[in-house]
């Protein structure tokens, strides 16, 4: 077994078998959310690390995935796992549309376009809300939300934590597979320079769109999982500013490895909850994140994950 496969499997085993035993009911929910947002952060990392593209609209795509999953859950009798797959694929298609400006722009300009998109989705979510079991296409009723179906054989919060972690792990595997096969190599050529990629015969347009679609798929699956974890979604969770925060944390965690996405998920959901638990305002987390971002930009371009991996690989002298 290659060395690189072992650490993620160990972490997966701990998450599946140890965490459910030691966490209290409240923390099971928090860790579920953290795992889900780790998946969303992985989508940001695909674009940032593989192509150097900045996508601030990931949180909006998480919302889109969540909307689709809720809508299908109320409107159809489809199995929940299938709904999650459909939400992922549909969000991937919307992510691919976001790729169109990226064919012409990069850097700050692309970041601005994605921020505008995030702002547009924020307005849409506010205006139409998330389905809660009501009538019609938008499915919003002026009442408390109706229950949604859980996945088969998942009765408890602990079960849903395990279910989420398995799906997140599968998606991480999908990303890893991309990195070592043709798309990963094509992305590397494009990252070097688009002229270089084209001169080698790489279809730059296709592979850029593919990267956005993969990123969108991860966001859509994350959104669908989130809707199942919370039972209902609140437009305030999907503000454009949250998209900026999630991007920043993906960089802080480390965009170049799966561990970075896990760290981003932990920072995004676990740290504020921990601060609350200590009786400190969760807003302190924002200050910590700001400092961490400065640190990452100045001294650790590969993020916390890069520093950890570097420390582990260094041989004792």
């Amino acid at each position: 077994m290659p060395k690189t496969v072992l650490p993620p499997l160990v972490v997966l085993a701990i998450c599946l078998f140890v965490l459910p035993l030691v966490l209290s009911a409240l923390w099971v929910k928090v860790v579920t959310s953290a795992a889900i947002f780790a998946l969303a952060a992985a989508g940001i990392s695909v674009l940032f690390a593989q192509l150097g593209l900045i996508n601030l609209a990931q949180i909006a795509l998480v919302g889109v995935g969540g909307w689709i999953a809720l809508r299908l859950n109320y409107a159809t009798p489809l199995p929940v796992t299938l709904i999650i797959a459909i939400a992922g694929i549909a969000t991937a298609a919307i992510g691919a549309v976001l790729a169109l400006p990226a064919l012409r722009m990069r850097g700050l300009y692309l970041a601005l376009v994605t921020l505008m998109a995030a702002g547009a989705f924020q307005i849409l979510f506010n205006a139409f809300q998330f389905p809660n079991g009501g009538e019609g296409f938008w499915g919003v009723a002026r009442q408390s939300a109706a229950d949604i179906r859980p996945p088969l054989m998942v009765q408890t919060d602990v079960g849903y934590l395990r279910y989420s972690i398995v799906i997140v792990a599968l998606c991480f595997g999908l990303v890893a597979l991309h990195r070592v096969t043709a798309p990963g190599r094509a992305w590397a050529m494009i990252r070097q320079s688009e002229a270089n990629a084209m001169a080698a015969g790489v279809n730059v347009t296709f592979y850029k769109i593919w990267a956005f679609a993969l990123s969108g798929l991860l966001a859509g699956v994350a959104g669908a999982l989130l809707s199942g974890a919370l039972g209902q979604l609140d437009p305030r969770s999907f503000l454009a500013s949250e998209g900026i925060l999630l991007f920043a944390l993906a960089v802080v965690g480390g965009a170049y490895s799966w561990a970075g996405a896990v760290i981003a998920g932990i920072l995004y959901k676990l740290l504020p909850a921990l601060l609350n638990d200590f009786g400190v305002s969760a807003d302190i987390a924002l200050i910590v994140f700001g400092g961490a971002l400065l640190h990452a930009i100045m001294t650790a371009p590969r993020g916390i994950a890069g520093q950890l991996i570097g420390a582990l690989q260094r041989k004792p002298s």
Binding site: R185, A195, A199, G201, V202
Partner: protein
């Protein structure tokens, strides 16, 4: 055979190539001229990176300009860049695999194809080294190995000799002169090194201010008074 007909490239008001007409039948043609003469612009015109306003490039009956840049590469236009394009975190073999992916080389043929080009470029030992750990010569040879994959019809080399030592230049000479026989590709080479040009090119085209000022067998062109004035400053 490569037919360039009335090729014109303009960057805004600057005419980088001015009605260039040229038929290349030699295995290795040198393209020389002073800085800013339009040499790199011409290689970019082949690749599809230059704004062509008029003219055609026809190779073996195929009008190149009808194809998108990546399709030209798949059809058989390979090139290296003046500044080597090696990705730091890909191995040499992965660079070559990326080209195999793009050019649709079948899975069961890849190991053979990659082995052949690595051996020809003399860098078989670097197969699993990361781009970052290669020296400039190994990077240059990796670029050339990339160019050889997928039965190229023409290879454009933009200053392949830049920064190489004399013994490394000997390897480069061998590679350039044997490419047509081994891989069937014509080479157009841009370089400033007159010794290298004299040794490997059977014909030379000389550009100055976007115009063709001389074209013919190497020895004759290098003796041409107009060429000496424009290029050698004599």
């Amino acid at each position: 055979m490569i037919n360039i007909e009335n090729l014109t490239v303009k960057y805004g008001g600057v005419v980088a190539l001015d009605g260039l007409t040229l038929t290349v039948t030699d295995d290795v043609m040198g393209l020389i001229g002073p800085n800013g003469a339009g040499k790199t612009t011409m290689t970019n015109a082949f690749s599809g990176f230059a704004p062509i306003t008029a003219g055609r490039i026809v190779i073996d009956g195929m009008n190149l300009l009808e194809l998108a840049p990546h399709k030209r590469a798949r059809w058989g236009v390979s090139r290296s860049f003046q500044k080597v394009q090696i990705v730091g975190d890909l191995t040499v073999a992965e660079h070559l695999l990326a080209v195999c992916d793009a050019k649709g080389i079948k899975r069961n043929e890849r190991v053979g194809v990659i082995g052949t080009v690595l051996d020809f470029a003399g860098i078989s030992a670097c197969r699993d080294m990361l781009g970052d750990s290669l020296n400039p010569y190994q990077k240059r040879m990796t670029e050339i190995a990339k160019c050889l994959i997928g039965a190229p019809k023409i290879i454009l080399l933009d200053e392949p000799g830049g920064g190489l030592s004399e013994s490394e230049m000997q390897d480069l000479r061998r590679i350039i002169t044997q490419t047509k026989n081994r891989f069937g590709a014509q080479i157009i080479m841009v370089d400033h090194d007159v010794d290298l040009i004299r040794d490997v090119c059977t014909s030379i085209a000389v550009l100055d201010f976007g115009k063709l000022i001389a074209f013919g067998p190497t020895r004759e062109v290098l003796q041409d008074e107009a060429v000496k004035t424009a290029y050698l400053g004599r």
